[in-house]
């Protein structure tokens, strides 16, 4: 006959093994979208991804400064750029590599611009054409052309001069500077060169998402290899973009965890061994960790793909389950050395379990996807951990004889923690002062929605970015005004409206737009109508003037017949494809994208989507116009860091208020249901209020900012603190017991030693996690031991147990 105990053990073993098996097959995701609150923000980030901004890598090649810098680029610099560009272009890891415009691009561009000049020229351009056609300017231009044709380069210029002797094309070329935006670069033999001639810019787009650390490592490795092969003597490279940030974050997290995890584990194990003084007891309290594999497997079954961040933190959160085993172990020791859980302890455990699960359930309401995954992992894992602790700890403990009555206790001095009048008012006063201080600083706390606050501040990365901006411009932040739609014409018209709105601004410098090269169909129609009017009225008498000027400057009267024929020809409209594969592709590709995505209706059907972006300096001067663009032009989205910051701050604030309120209400409800009296409920909540007040004070003293990590770990601290309160209140109501004090203390110190170590992490997210727990639990623990009993002191409870 198989015993019940053996069946339980077999079931646990099978579930654990199955959990390990399935959790090994889990698909991990490192999508940054998972960490962003709110769907609108995720939509914005997706647009940035579609525009290729997230996967873009800028490589600035550099020569050391010379005492007398020559603005002519060094041949080694250009050779390095060419070699690097060619090398990277061969790699499937890079979708696009822009390092040099194609040979002869000037000729090809001039020909293309001349072909489409009638649809590109606006009213201002036509006025400049008319000025060039004035008789005195006309003669001067033809004299220049005459000299150019007689120079060594004249043979190559003959056809161009015949077709456009006045340089109409140059007028349009000048406007193309808007394709560069705030970038300060010159084009030298097709290379992108800085003003001082010492730097050469290359930009590439990774074919795989760079927000995934594994991809970033792969791409970086290929990049490093190419740099080693390509850079000539004295040439160095700076890499700017999301890549160094992903690498720095992944590297710092890895280094932090490698450095701190062993410390945390050693600290935890040492502490537990020190106070439990029994290796078997250590194994007993570690039983809840068996819940992790099946919880992870179930989470994967639910979501398919699990955020790596959610998994990492979620497993850490499962550490709360250890608290159940600690209470069972200490509660059963001595009195219940047979392995029975007392009625009082059962009640406490159930309450603690329900409140913890309730807090995690509240986290399911978070607008951050990774938070929701963590919450589900926590609920599944803690439920199973509770079951394991409940079913396995008592019989195993009894069987192994660890429930000895004379084991060490963490808290022996009972007088200080009792419910008597011993310094009761002092304790309550200090607690109230803490709450008052916390409340007083709470309104001054700011919600920092800048996602970069969680970015690791690596000096080398910051230096490279600062140097990059100093060389290439774009010192301030940038906003992206993106027109999105299913129809290409609609998108181009929207993009055109955006540009026209920005062009009307007083301070419109630094705007990067393709509207000058690719006006929307509506504007093309306008420009064509204006051009036809110009053909009718503006050309009257010009033919005679041109022929006379030609004769006067040494040409035949018919020398510029190709120009006259072109002026009178029927103009053509243009489409993005006309320029997209041309010499300006590097600039156009950055601002215009067409892609297919699965349609909502019909399997396998794909829908074409078009994106056109305008890049605008995100500064106070443009704040109003960006708001206007966002609100007035339907189909246009403004992606701006300042706007995101505001959005994240709003979402974060809403999340914190909503989650805290719901969590507080649920905890109060559960406590009220169990205790049916306000004072025990107050006693349960005392550690929570202390934790919140301490965290607020700490945040106020360290810059006054709250971020996503604070919100997340704040919820966890609430969950833990409530448990301390519950165990203490139940202990007080049943006559205070040193075992409860010890259990709460062991739980608190183990949490502090485990999480608190993360307070020494270099990565801001891990650091925020560590200090939040450290401060919160650091305040909740003494409050539970000192204040909760004091609050219950006059409620006529039973006497303290010896």
């Amino acid at each position: 006959m198989i015993s019940r105990s053996l069946i339980i053990k077999i079931v646990v073993l099978l579930v654990t093994l199955a959990g390990i098996y399935f959790s090994m097959r889990i698909e991990l995701g490192e999508d940054a979208l998972d960490m962003l609150p709110g769907t609108s923000l995720q939509g914005d980030f997706k647009l940035l991804q579609q525009l290729g901004m997230v996967n873009r890598i800028f490589i600035s090649l550099e020569l050391p400064s010379a005492p007398d810098p020559d603005p002519v680029p060094d041949s080694g610099l250009l050779a390095s750029a060419r070699a690097l560009g060619e090398d990277l272009s061969l790699s499937p890891l890079f979708a696009e590599v822009f390092y040099q415009l194609p040979e002869g691009y000037q000729f090809r561009l001039a020909a293309e611009l001349r072909q489409y000049l009638p649809v590109l020229a606006d009213d201002g351009d036509l006025r400049r054409f008319e000025a060039l056609m004035a008789p005195e300017v006309l003669r001067e231009k033809l004299a220049e052309a005459f000299q150019a044709l007689n120079s060594p380069a004249g043979l190559a210029m003959k056809r161009q001069i015949q077709g456009d002797p006045l340089g109409f094309t140059s007028v349009i070329l000048e406007k193309l500077s808007t394709l560069r935006g705030a970038l300060r670069l010159n084009i030298h033999d097709g290379f992108f060169i800085s003003n001082d001639g010492r730097h050469c810019l290359i930009w590439a787009e990774s074919a795989i998402p760079l927000t995934v650390s594994g991809n970033a490592v792969l791409v970086n490795q290929r990049l490093e290899e190419a740099l080693a092969r390509s850079l000539k003597e004295r040439v160095t490279a700076r890499i700017v973009g999301p890549l160094p940030h992903t690498l720095a974050n992944a590297g710092t997290i890895r280094s932090d965890l490698a450095r701190l995890l062993p410390v945390a584990i050693v600290a935890l194990v040492t502490f537990l061994l020190l106070f439990l003084r029994d290796r078997r007891a250590l194994l007993l309290v570690a039983i809840p960790f068996l819940a992790a594999p099946p919880a992870v497997a179930l989470l994967a079954g639910f979501y398919g793909k699990v955020s790596a961040m959610a998994l990492g933190f979620g497993i850490v959160l499962l550490g709360i389950g250890v608290d159940f085993a600690v209470h069972i172990y200490l509660g059963a020791r001595g009195i219940h050395s047979t392995g029975k859980i007392s009625g009082d302890l059962r009640g406490s455990l159930f309450m603690a379990f329900f409140t913890t699960i309730a807090v995690f359930a509240v986290l399911l309401l978070s607008s951050v996807a990774a938070h929701r995954q963590m919450a589900l992992l926590g609920i599944i894992g803690l439920t199973w951990a509770f079951v394991l602790a409940w079913l396995l700890a008592p019989p195993l403990g009894a069987q192994s004889g660890v429930f000895t009555p004379n084991g060490p206790l963490f808290v022996k001095e009972m007088r200080l923690f009792g419910q008597g009048s011993h310094q009761r008012w002092l304790k309550l006063t200090i607690w109230l002062l803490l709450l008052a201080a916390g409340l007083s600083v709470w309104p001054s706390l700011r919600y920092n929605g800048d996602l970069r606050a969680l970015d690791v501040p690596v000096q080398a990365v910051s230096d490279d970015e600062r140097a990059f901006k100093g060389i290439w411009g774009g010192e301030g932040e940038q906003a992206f005004v993106v027109a999105v739609g299913r129809e290409q014409d609609t998108v181009l018209n929207l993009n055109d409206r955006v540009y026209q709105t920005l062009a009307r601004q007083e301070k419109s410098s630094g705007v990067q737009s393709l509207a000058v090269l690719l006006p929307g169909p509506d504007r093309q129609v306008e420009n064509l109508a204006r051009w036809r009017e110009f053909q009718k009225t503006g050309l009257a008498g010009f033919e005679r003037e041109l022929r006379q000027a030609a004769i006067a400057t040494g040409f035949t009267p018919a020398a510029f017949q190709p120009f006259l024929d072109w002026l009178e020809s029927e103009p053509e409209s243009l489409a993005p494809g006309d320029f997209l594969d041309g010499p300006l592709r590097p600039f156009i590709y950055s601002l215009f994208r067409e892609f297919s995505e699965k349609g909502a209706i019909g399997k396998g059907e794909s829908v074409e989507t078009f994106l056109a972006a305008t890049i605008v300096p995100d500064n106070p001067d443009n704040k109003a116009v960006l708001e206007r663009l966002s609100s007035e032009i339907a189909g246009v989205t403004v992606l701006s860091n300042s706007r995101w910051r505001r959005q994240v701050e709003e979402d974060l604030k809403r999340d914190i208020v909503k989650l805290s309120t719901v969590a507080a209400l649920l905890v109060i409800m559960i406590c009220a249901l169990f205790f049916r009296s306000p004072r025990p409920v107050l006693g349960v909540l005392a550690p929570v209020t202390s934790a919140l007040a301490a965290m607020a004070l700490f945040a106020a003293f360290t810059g006054g900012e709250l971020n996503i990590m604070h919100a997340l770990m704040g919820i966890m601290v609430i969950g833990l603190s409530v448990d301390y309160g519950i165990f203490m209140v139940r202990a007080c109501l049943g006559g205070i017991d040193h075992r409860t004090l010890s259990a709460v203390s062991i739980c608190a110190v183990s949490t502090l030693s485990g999480f608190g170590v993360l307070g020494f992490a270099e990565h801001p997210a891990l650091h925020a996690l560590g200090v939040t727990v450290l401060v919160g639990i650091g305040a909740a623990w003494p409050t539970a031991l000192l204040v909760t009993p004091a609050l219950l002191a006059s409620s006529g409870n039973r006497e303290e147990k010896p």
Partner: protein, 219 residues
């Protein structure tokens, strides 16, 4: 690349104007592969004998779009291994200077423009071909042109590809029989346009001033 032939033509244009760096007394034979190779070989071998030279030149452009032939004159100075000055003096002054892989150009109308041979495809090709030629290598040009040796002596270059032929009909170089220096260069275009260059008054192994190759000042 349809503009490449034009750039190469520019190379030849300057190359032929500078090709007079050969010692006198070289014999050459009739129009045969062996004679041509022999001639080219001798030119290559002797090209290093002159460190520097200066000469006068006259350029006559006969373009359909010009009212008549246009004559420009000027001076060419060269110092091996990598310095060259091409200067129009009359009627419209302008200068191109090559010094190593850098250069200058200017006219009487605008400011001096610096360029880098690595950064300017036209000038890069001019210089690389020029120095390759003066050091005795014809290989690159022979990839694009058929060579023909004529009595005179003269060399005729015909483009191999149709694309090049749409811009360049034929280039003829007439050499001084005594010194094997180019006396005339004639560049014919398919439409009938023509450029003629006449070189004279060669002065060899001169102590040319550095300033000629470091400044773009018009005379």
């Amino acid at each position: 690349m349809k503009y490449l032939p034009l750039l190469r033509m520019g190379v030849l244009f300057i190359f032929f104007s500078l090709a007079g760096v050969f010692p006198p007394g070289l014999a050459f034979g009739v129009e045969s592969g062996g004679a041509l190779e022999n001639f080219l070989q001798k030119v290559e071998e002797s090209s290093a004998a002159i460190d520097s030279f200066s000469c006068d030149f006259t350029q006559i452009k006969q373009l359909a779009i010009f009212a008549g032939p246009v004559e420009f004159s000027g001076q060419l100075s060269l110092r091996r291994p990598d310095k060259l000055r091409w200067e129009f003096v009359d009627p419209l002054p302008s200068v191109i200077v090559l010094n190593g892989n850098r250069g200058l150009k200017c006219t009487d109308r605008g400011p001096v423009t610096k360029f880098n041979l690595d950064g300017d495809p036209v000038m890069r090709m001019v210089a690389s071909q020029l120095w390759a030629w003066s050091s005795g290598s014809y290989r690159e040009l022979r990839d694009d042109f058929d060579f023909k040796l004529l009595p005179g002596p003269a060399l005729v270059f015909s483009p191999r590809s149709k694309e090049t032929a749409s811009y360049i009909g034929r280039i003829k170089v007439v050499f001084d029989p005594d010194h094997l220096q180019p006396l005339e260069v004639e560049i014919n275009e398919p439409g009938g346009d023509r450029t003629l260059l006449y070189f004279s008054n060669y002065r060899r192994n001169l102590a040319l001033k550095d300033v000629l190759f470091s400044e773009c000042r018009l005379r």
